[in-house]
């Protein structure tokens, strides 16, 4: 299993081929379209992260000490970025998730999407992923 750092490096490598924003965004949009849809049962209010611009649903499962996420958004660009986040975080341990800093988003030129003023739910979603990791890390310690 690749580490968070290794997957981030892969993504940066993949994005390096784009020399204009339009191709890059088209790629993210396509990622968004191909993200497996979260099961309807998980699209409940307690999994909803509400922003002014778009809504994000995030669900987390634990299997043998590793975390697996599924998510959805009503905004396709947000969903594309979510699919990258899920690719990085899926199958990682709570501790590794807590220690990560996700510099790849800046490296591939999508930093503005994490700006709090965009209110698109992404920032809250990353926070929520870390809360899940924290909760499972504490559970393991007990």
């Amino acid at each position: 299993m690749a580490t968070i750092k290794e997957i981030e490096a892969q993504i940066i490598e993949e994005f390096s081929i784009f020399d204009n924003w339009m191709d890059k965004y088209q790629y993210i949009i396509d990622l968004g379209k191909s993200l497996p849809v979260i099961e309807e049962s998980a699209k409940k209010d307690e999994n909803l992260i509400k922003g002014c611009q778009s809504r994000v649903w995030l669900n987390c499962k634990e299997e043998e000490g590793l975390l697996y996420f599924s998510a959805d958004s009503d905004a396709i660009i947000t969903k594309g970025i979510i699919s990258l986040l899920i690719r990085v975080y899926n199958g990682q341990s709570p501790k590794d998730i807590l220690d990560s800093d996700l510099s790849f988003i800046e490296s591939i030129g999508l930093k503005e999407n994490l700006s709090p003023t965009r209110a698109n739910g992404l920032l809250s979603m990353i926070k929520q992923i870390k809360y899940y990791a924290l909760a499972y890390a504490e559970k393991e310690e007990k």
Binding site: W21, I29, R55, I76, I77
Partner: protein, 416 residues
């Protein structure tokens, strides 16, 4: 035709922001319902006043403070004449439309709203003309009534008579909705309300930008608007109020220069308008209303005014025609008579998120608003959780409208 083009490029040269770029493209700024760009005259005034007129107003016995006070009061006089208020005492400086409405909701309702009473608001209000009334109503156990809009975004004026029951103690209207851009038929409602002795506040945040306002002719009891939406500084608002009401209302906030005499137990208040201007006001920002409203007059009077009005009408026809040709689009605010439509266009395209459209447009240099636009109940009433809005100012052009539509079509190609 050439003449109109020359006038428009001359007008645009007054707004330095229009010559800047965004994401490497020439900026096409279409978020004017949120805030307008500032004219060179306003910018030069502000930087000059920060150097040559910077002393606290209404307080001191030295020449610099006199200069500051003169500039502040000159702006008040300019506002008075701009909206044709009878006296300077009618004009209160606040921090914005929101603060102006909160002032009335708080002070008026403290004196005149009792348990079981009601406030009538509009379905197309933005949050600033909803929440202050809810807060005021909650304090005394009053309730909110809502004047609905029809499917095209027209206010149901015909229901005003039956909704204006004896419990209603004040009506809060919106001249032009920040989402729909439709000129509301408020004159009729004001007439009906006054026949029943009910005062009316008009939120003019959008309305004051696109049409001449005469508060005496309109006969509203209160009129609120923001400086920053009409080329002035941020953090400055105006509340016009009829003298009778302002005299009867208790002060909103205490402190600073709003007093006559103060002892530790009791205070008598300064006469209008200072009674409602507690603390040091944003005096430089307020003073900048003088050049800001001169800019507004330059844009709406004479040859320039005629040319820009023509361009605005052309933009409205063009946008309504081009937008309605986009498959699966739902446009909000579609009055049959386009004369009633201000150049504010909100819409959704089925299956496409408004925020996604805005992000792609941003990359092409087009600044538009997406989201709830501080009007969640209205957006939700369309069955939507967000919308896209392009809002034009008098300095925007038909060419920009055309560029917007082209960019929108490309964005939709990418997103669909």
């Amino acid at each position: 035709m050439e003449g109109v083009k020359n006038i428009i490029s001359e007008v645009r040269s007054h707004f330095p922001a229009l010559e800047t770029s965004m994401n490497g493209r020439r900026l096409v700024y279409l978020d004017n319902a949120a805030t307008t760009q500032k004219s060179r005259e306003v910018l030069e005034f502000i930087s000059g006043a920060m150097v040559n007129k910077n002393a606290n107003v209404h307080r001191s016995m030295y020449a610099l403070s006199d200069l500051a006070t003169e500039a502040y009061e000159a702006a008040r006089e300019k506002v008075r004449s701009f909206i044709n208020a009878p006296e300077r005492e009618n004009i209160i400086f606040t921090s914005g439309t929101t603060a102006s409405i909160n002032l009335v909701a708080s002070s008026f309702c403290q004196a005149f709203l009792k348990e079981g009473d009601a406030v009538l608001i509009e379905a197309d209000s933005h949050h600033s003309n909803i929440v202050p009334w809810q807060l005021a109503a909650q304090r005394v156990g009053a309730f909110i009534k809502v004047l609905p809009i029809d499917g095209s975004g027209n206010l149901c004026t015909n229901l005003a008579e039956s909704l204006l029951t004896p419990e209603v103690k004040i009506v809060a209207l919106t001249q032009v909705s920040n989402v729909l851009g439709v000129e509301n038929t408020i004159a009729e409602i004001i007439k009906i309300a006054h026949k029943k002795g009910i005062p009316v506040l008009v939120d003019g945040a959008q309305g004051v930008v696109h049409s001449e306002v005469d508060v005496q002719k309109m006969d509203c009891d209160f009129y609120a608007f923001s400086a920053h939406k009409i080329y002035g500084a941020t953090g400055v608002g105006i509340l016009y109020g009829k003298r009778d009401w302002l005299e009867k209302m208790p002060p909103y906030m205490g402190g600073g220069d709003m007093v006559e005499t103060v002892t530790y137990q009791k205070t008598t208040y300064a006469p209008l308008p200072l009674k409602f201007e507690a603390g040091t006001p944003n005096f430089t920002g307020a003073a900048s209303l003088l050049p800001a409203l001169e800019t507004a007059e330059y844009l709406r009077r004479g040859e320039v005014g005629d040319a820009l009005k023509k361009e605005e009408r052309a933009i409205v026809s063009f946008m309504m025609e081009k937008l309605s040709q986009i498959p699966d689009i739902e446009i909000y605010g579609t009055p049959e008579n386009l004369e009633k439509k201000h150049p504010i266009f909100s819409f959704n395209v089925k299956g496409v998120n408004a925020g996604d459209m805005a992000q792609i447009l941003d990359k092409m240099g087009v600044a538009v608003r997406s989201g709830l636009m501080c009007a969640e109940p209205l957006i939700n009433s369309f069955g939507a959780t967000s919308a896209l809005r392009a809002s034009f100012a008098p300095y925007n052009t038909l060419e920009e409208a055309d560029y917007f539509v082209q960019c929108l079509q490309r964005a939709l190609q990418m997103l669909k």
